[in-house]
Every structure is written in C-alpha cells, then in structure tokens.
Subunit: 296 residues, 2 copies
C-alpha cells in the first residue's frame, strides 16, 4: 500500500481531485492558485482560497509569533495576487497544544490582523481546536471582475515568461517578511496582456513545470537571466522555494514601455523576462527539484 | 504566563477577536455559527464558515476514513443550518503524516464528496501539508437572502426554547453519522418566527449559556423535557456534546400547528420545547459543563 511520501504532493492532489464533481457555477476548480465560483451578479465572481502553515514545516518553534501570523495571511494574499483578484474576508482556524501560552497566540493574531488591515481584509471568524502542533489555517474570500482573473492554464507557445523580484534563499528571512503583490498584480493586468500567472511557493523548478503542464505547453528557461538573490546560486533560485514572487506569461508583443509603467507605479517592483514558452513537443529542458510536502 | 488550558476556549476566543477590525461590509462577525458579509447584490449576502477535525480529538486512529471525511463536511453543514443559510462551495485543507497510506486519504475524500454532493456543495479546491496528526479543515461559503439569517443574538425574554432530535451519547456513533439539518432549518424559518438559533456541538450545558449571553437574556430549562437519547441520563444529554442538533428560540405565540408543518414536511424531524428565556436578572439556573477544547 503506497504512502503519501511515495506518491508525492502533485500525484496526491491529482488523485483526490479526480473524483470531485463540478457544475456550471464552478468557474475555476482545483489546480490553480484560487478557486473562482459564480457570484450573485454578472459583473463579479467570487474567489476562494485556503492555506495552512504548520509548526516544524513552515516555521520553527522559535519563530516570533507575529511573524507566524503575518506569514499565514501573506501566503493567501499572494495566491489572490496570482489570480489578479481582490481579497476581502478571512476565517482563521487555530490548532494549538493546550500548554501554549496565551500570549503566544495573541501574538499570532496581532501579526495576522496587522497585515490583513494593510490590505483591507477583515478577519470575520474562525475556529479553535487543541492539537499536538501549532497550525494556522486561513481561508479567504474575495472578488474579481468577471473573466478578468488570470489562471495557470491559458499560456500559449511563444509567450514570454516573466518573474517578479529575486529568487532563492528565502529561508534567511524573506519567507516570513515578503510583501504580497496584490496591488502590483492589478497593475500588471491593467498594462500587460497576461496569459497565465501563479505565485512561486515551491520553487521555480517545481512551479514552472506546473504552469506549463496546466497550459499544455513547453518552456525554455534562460538560466543566466533568472534574478538571483544576493549570496544565492541559480540552483538555490530554482529549488529553495517560498519566494512568493509572481511567475507570469505575457504576449510576445509585450513592450519595455508596458513593463516600465508598472515599475514606475511600484518602484520596488522588479520585472524580468526569464525565457519563453514553446510548443510541447519542442521542450528540451527538464527541471527537477523544488519542494514537495510529502516526499523528503 | 497563562496557558490555553488555564483560560479555556471561550475566553481565548474573546481575547483573539477583541482586536479585530470590522467595517460596514461585515454584517455578522466572530461569535456566531457563521460569518455573514455583504454580497455583491442587495438581495443576498455571503455566508462563510471554517471548521477543523483533529485525530485524537474529533476522531480516533481507527475511525473509518469515509466517516472522518463525512464528519468534516457535516459539521460545517450543521453551522450553515444554524444560520438558515444555503451552503454552496467548499475548500479542504489536509494535513497528514507522510507515512499515511494514500488509500486512507482517498477514503477521507470519498466521505467528504459523498455528503457534499448530497447537499449540492462543490469542493472547489484546497491545500495539503505534512504534519504529525491527521487534520481536515473545511471552509465553506454559501448564501442567505438578506436579513433572513438567524443569529445567536436576537433571542428575547419570553421566547420559547426548542431543540431538535434527542441529546446525549453521541460518541456511540452519532458524532460520525448525524444528518445536518440544512433543509429542516429552511422549513423552520419559513413556518416559525425564529429569534435565535445555533447548532449544539459542545453540549446543551455549554451552548445554551452561550446563546443566552449573546442575546443578553437568562434562561429556564425544564430538565425533564429535554429529549434524551436511549440509554442516556439527563446529565449526558447536557454535557456529552457533538449532538449537532439545532437549539432555537421562537416567539411565545408559536403554535403546535406551526411545529406540525415542519414535522410533516420532515418526518424524521423532532421538535421539543425545553424551556423559555427570561430577563437576565431573573436567571436562577447555572449550567456548568459541556466540552472545552483546551481545558481538560
């Protein structure tokens, strides 16, 4: 009998989503950064996302509580950014050992509230339970104008491949302090002709093949063009994970002037072309690596 | 420094929700069965709920996987019932040790899908992570016609207190197999003048004082009128918890004919008046007991 460690995360997700039913109200089901379902009006759809962080996996017992809380919210905001959607409301599920100091828990919620407030997201409820490890699960709902969300599945051969920021070495601190690119994504959608987007959580080597597979295309990555964080190798930029930058594809006719508009609006935003998409049969590279939650 | 075990669940929730900001779009924030936020139309609001079940707390290592999955979905459906809201979409967060057999996980999802399908709820996404214990967290969104949701906070002195079904002894099996009263709640709202409602998850002795406190009223429970499951004492009916029946309050002018309409529409539905609400200063009884997630 196979275990989760043997099949790995992507195969597990394939297996558990294969049996799920859908209907006309589900506009975008499992397999993307968020789900999109029909809203009560014709102009806006509802965007849904849940995410979890687990002690010993996503943070350590000595991580400052407000940074743990911040990360729990920031990761979900990053998924909303990846859809070019607007996050609005959050629910928080707390699991904690009964011996946890109350002060530590209040620190978590301060970290969550502070970042949520910054993005005008309201925490409207949640649930608590005892458990062996400290775990925070955040589910968020929000909105997106109809047909304006950006999925992983509409990239076409010939599209240019872009990444924001710099990759690698996130464990040195960025994984706790990254800035979710919600507003920047709105700007990209406004000025560029985006075809696909996702946030980089498991490393470019894992996430780019996921995007390409969802779109049914191949890719050609120019290794020397990958923006690498100071002190990191290209291998680290490919594999470390937890960058929470945006990986996106855009029309081959994208101009420098278009990119410039977003970088002027958001001076901290860096945009870099790191390759292009190919017809599936022209794919030569094979990326292996990145982070898998079950295979070690 | 106080621990969660020392302050208990209700005080913890009070502390963590005290610092949360709100705005005009939040129609019902923390402290009720679900949250309600403004939807994009004037006729319908959005209902949000998250809930979690943890191995060793809500089920045991030898619980059949499909029953674990069923329970994860059923608990959230029960919260939607308590608001008289319609559940629509679910996200599922799975945390599991890497050595878990894939077959066990597929069983969980079969149990979830089957019950979700029965209520036309679509599972539209989720998240997976490794962890020490098996944990399922379900977040659900749905709708309710504007101003038709039923909270815990609008009960008035003089209102009659009702409960569905029979209480106590849930651990013998009902906690895994209960029927969420989503449709029955719709019928109650249609035929009775409900003032408050909640689902009984932690035991009448814990949940009734919560409802009364939220409404700012006292209560008088008639112990001999509490419908008790076969083989259970009144003490068990008060304290065991996990009944997932509905506790509701209705106008003192509620008639037997009104109750009869719902019991005719749903022949398995039992409705029993178990007392009434009092002005706060006339409160004599003091219920102590029920389940607390952190105090043991």
């Amino acid at each position: 009998m196979k275990t989760l460690a043997q099949v790995g995360e992507d195969e597990l997700v394939r297996l558990i989503t294969a049996g799920l039913k859908t209907d006309a109200g589900v506009l975008l089901g499992p397999g993307d950064d968020c789900a999109v379902v029909r809203g009560p009006t014709k102009s806006e759809s509802l965007v849904l996302k849940t995410d979890t962080i687990v002690e010993g996996v996503h943070f350590t017992p000595d991580t400052a509580p407000h940074l743990i809380g911040r990360k729990a919210i920031a990761r979900v905001l990053s998924d909303f950014a990846a859809m070019a959607a607007i996050p609005r409301h959050a629910l928080v599920t707390l699991i904690a050992p009964p011996a946890t100091p109350v002060k530590r828990i209040l620190g978590l919620y301060q970290g969550m509230s502070r970042l949520a407030d910054e993005f005008a997201v309201r925490i409207v409820g949640g649930e608590t339970s005892s458990g062996q490890q400290l775990i925070l699960t955040v589910s968020m709902s929000g909105t997106v104008p109809n047909k304006q969300w950006v999925t992983r599945s509409q990239a076409r051969a010939g599209d240019l491949l872009f990444v924001t920021g710099r990759l690698g070495g996130s464990i040195r601190g960025k994984h706790l302090k990254f800035h979710p690119l919600v507003k920047e994504a709105q700007c990209l959608v406004k000025h560029l002709k985006l075809t696909a987007m996702m946030d980089l959580s498991d490393g470019l080597a894992k996430d780019l093949p996921r995007l390409a597979a969802r779109s049914g295309v191949g890719y050609e990555l120019v290794a020397e063009d990958i923006p690498v964080n100071r002190g990191c190798t290209v291998q680290q930029a490919l594999n470390d994970g937890e960058d929470y930058e945006l990986l996106f594809t855009a029309s081959p006719r994208t101009t420098a002037a278009q990119l410039q508009k977003c970088m002027q609006a958001y001076p901290n935003l860096q945009l870099k072309c790191i390759g292009k998409l190919l017809p599936l049969k022209k794919q030569r590279q094979s990326l292996l690596g990145g982070w898998d939650h079950f295979k070690k």
